[in-house]
Symmetry: C2
């Protein structure tokens, strides 16, 4: 069993409190995790992480999504090395940009074109801006509670946000057609876009896959009104379907936002879009100091090529099913009622009758001590580096966690 | 003399037109540069770039700022290699985060704390959001025409931008105290922040250093009203003064935005701030999928340490003075009237009576053919990799450019 002693981590946290507000910004702040979870990591390989106190875990968070082939995947690292020996951040892109753009347009059926950025938020913000530029309208529908990034128009915190930052947002409920229609009525002739997550992956809640009716309804109301359908595939992209998460539903968006897994941890995001928005994408001004850098693009080409070769979603689905079934069996064995939702490649595990996630947190803390890094509230992520043996190791650790809760 | 043939570049541009709107997004689109300028680069080393047609240039753009120690600086690359063998994008930062934050707080006198992002726009947007959260006010003063990023609240393009995106912006003229006072009067008790560039580095115009009166006036009106003074040091940071570009003026901001040169081309940005805004920086939600990644932080620690050791601003000032004096002499020799403005480390060269930059473009095209990559409208950037011999090579190339214009 893994030691509870994490003195190196504690020392770093103390130092960080002095020089970083709250110890750490954003979603990776371990203050939001159960006791014993590390904040600082020393080493990563495949699906395993080692913290600064030398404790090693089978990881089910994959850096909250980016790691899809496993940490330090040899093919990706080789492509990175090769490009970095030539150049990275230059006065323009390398030829790898064209190779990557052609690959993305080839992989993603709705993509007539693409452009690249660094953050998922870059991509979602560009999608909204392109939709407004292309339609000459302003209103944007988003699902209540959905996460689309961390800037004032979409941030979960309203600190520093003005009313005007969200003046043209209207809300619907995921999978609720009537709520979409009501929001559309409020938007009237000014509807620029409907933004929708690949599935409902709200933090701390039961996840919902989009119903076919919902997906087709969004497509048809966008078609009817000339608004852009924007699928936010930042979090789910490349785990469910390499062609885009809604392709299986037979619904193609006008714009999609991508990031996280596109380059196996290298900083890259993308917008893909249809021809009717190509001119709008040219007219907006979106850029960043490092958006033409070649190394992350080389990582993306290597990642996407390997994901295709592996049929990565199928592998992760298989491992995800093994995990889901194993967790269900073990929880039942201990007489515990759990709810597993979301696609199996991005599983969410919640305890029933656990509105404050107390059981979930205690379960995760104990599971961590047995060598598996799970999350008590957020959806988790599988990768191509997870083997059946890794999943079984997670199940063994989870069994200890369940036993602890059952006592 | 360098060949005008750039057939590999042309072929890539043709392919890119199909899959990328307008061929390329943002500031690095070579369609905005004189004929003959390459779009695609194959190789970079020190202060030299090689394009995909094998043409090599002494570079005065430094990737539009990020490259400050020279491309593929051995010390930075060694730090990157060492960190990347351990891990990059994990479930939290590496210990290098704490080391970097301590280094930044140690280097920058106004910095009681810092946080990190990926884009300069991440940093400027966070500054505005923190200022609003910390003051509970909304109005933000920005200089008319200043560039603070590429999202709707600040983008140079208004395509896709709504009126509300800029509802609380008020404008002043750089170095014009009366215009600041007039904007402040309009803001009234609702003034959250004054945002100011390190110097006036507007695209295509004569650059202006801040007058001491202007800088001190901004500080004193912020002190008097409780608003935050925000220096946007994204572009100029670490080239003029390692302590922050306004330190020499005796004016310390409440918040600064940094990016470009902080990690010698690796994607990183930073916000530094004073204690009174620490709580506000904790309350806003700012994050990104790759913001805790360790490799770019290792690059930043190596870069900043080396910049200190070299006294980098002094070196770049020396090389910049050599360049400015040499250009002045050669232009005069050919009977040409040029205007050189901005800090010598970030020089801007404009021809007089050249409102459409026609002379400047022809000069740059000819200078490029003689092996130096200059910009006809934008400020340029020196680096620590530029030696006196490199500057002299630029001057020889520029001499050919001036001769061409004089004919």
């Amino acid at each position: 069993m893994i030691s509870l002693v994490n003195s190196a981590d504690s020392a770093l946290r103390t130092r960080a409190q002095r020089v970083i507000p709250g110890g750490l910004w954003g979603h990776m702040n371990a203050a939001n995790l159960p006791e014993g979870y590390p904040q600082y990591f020393a080493h990563a390989n495949g699906c395993r992480l080692t913290d600064v106190d030398g404790r090693s875990f089978v990881d089910l968070m994959c850096a909250w999504g980016p790691i899809i082939l496993g940490h330090r995947n040899p093919l990706v690292e080789a492509a990175v090395h090769e490009q970095s020996m030539q150049g990275d951040c230059m006065n323009g892109p390398g030829p790898i940009l064209v190779e990557l753009a052609e690959l993305v347009v080839d992989m993603v059926p709705h993509a007539d074109w693409c452009l690249f950025g660094k953050n998922g938020t870059d991509a979602t913000t560009s999608c909204v801006t392109i939709a407004r530029a292309g339609t000459g309208r302003r209103k944007v529908l988003v699902a209540r509670g959905a996460y689309h990034g961390a800037v004032p128009w979409c941030s979960p915190s309203v600190a520093g946000v003005t009313e005007e930052d969200r003046a043209h947002l209207l809300h619907y409920r995921y999978n609720d057609l009537a709520s979409v229609d009501a929001a559309m009525e409020r938007a009237g002739a000014d509807l620029a876009a409907i933004v929708v997550s690949a599935f409902r992956h709200d933090f701390g809640f039961t996840q919902e896959l989009p119903t076919p009716e919902f997906a087709h309804h969004l497509r048809s109301v966008c078609d009817a009104t000339g608004a852009a359908l924007v699928v936010d595939d930042v979090r789910a992209g490349f785990r469910l379907d390499l062609r885009g998460s809604w392709e299986r539903l037979g619904v193609r968006p006008d714009l999609s936002a991508w990031s996280k897994a596109i380059a196996n941890g290298y900083a890259l995001s993308a917008v893909t879009g249809r021809d009717w928005l190509r001119q709008a994408a040219t007219e907006i001004f979106t850029t960043g100091s490092f958006w033409c850098s070649a190394v992350s693009m080389a990582a993306a080409v290597a990642t996407l090529t390997e994901l295709r070769r592996l049929d990565a979603p199928a592998h992760m689905r298989l491992m995800g099913e093994r995990l889901r079934q194993g967790l269900a069996e073990r929880a039942a064995h201990h007489g515990l009622a759990i709810t597993q939702t979301g696609p199996v490649q991005m599983p969410t595990l919640l305890f029933q009758d656990d509105p404050e996630w107390q059981k979930g947190s205690a379960f995760c803390a104990e599971t961590l001590r047995h060598g598996a890094y799970l999350h008590p509230k957020h959806n988790m992520f599988l990768s191509c580096a997870h083997t059946a043996a890794d999943i079984d190791a997670v199940l063994d650790a989870a069994d200890a966690g369940f036993r602890f809760i059952a006592r």
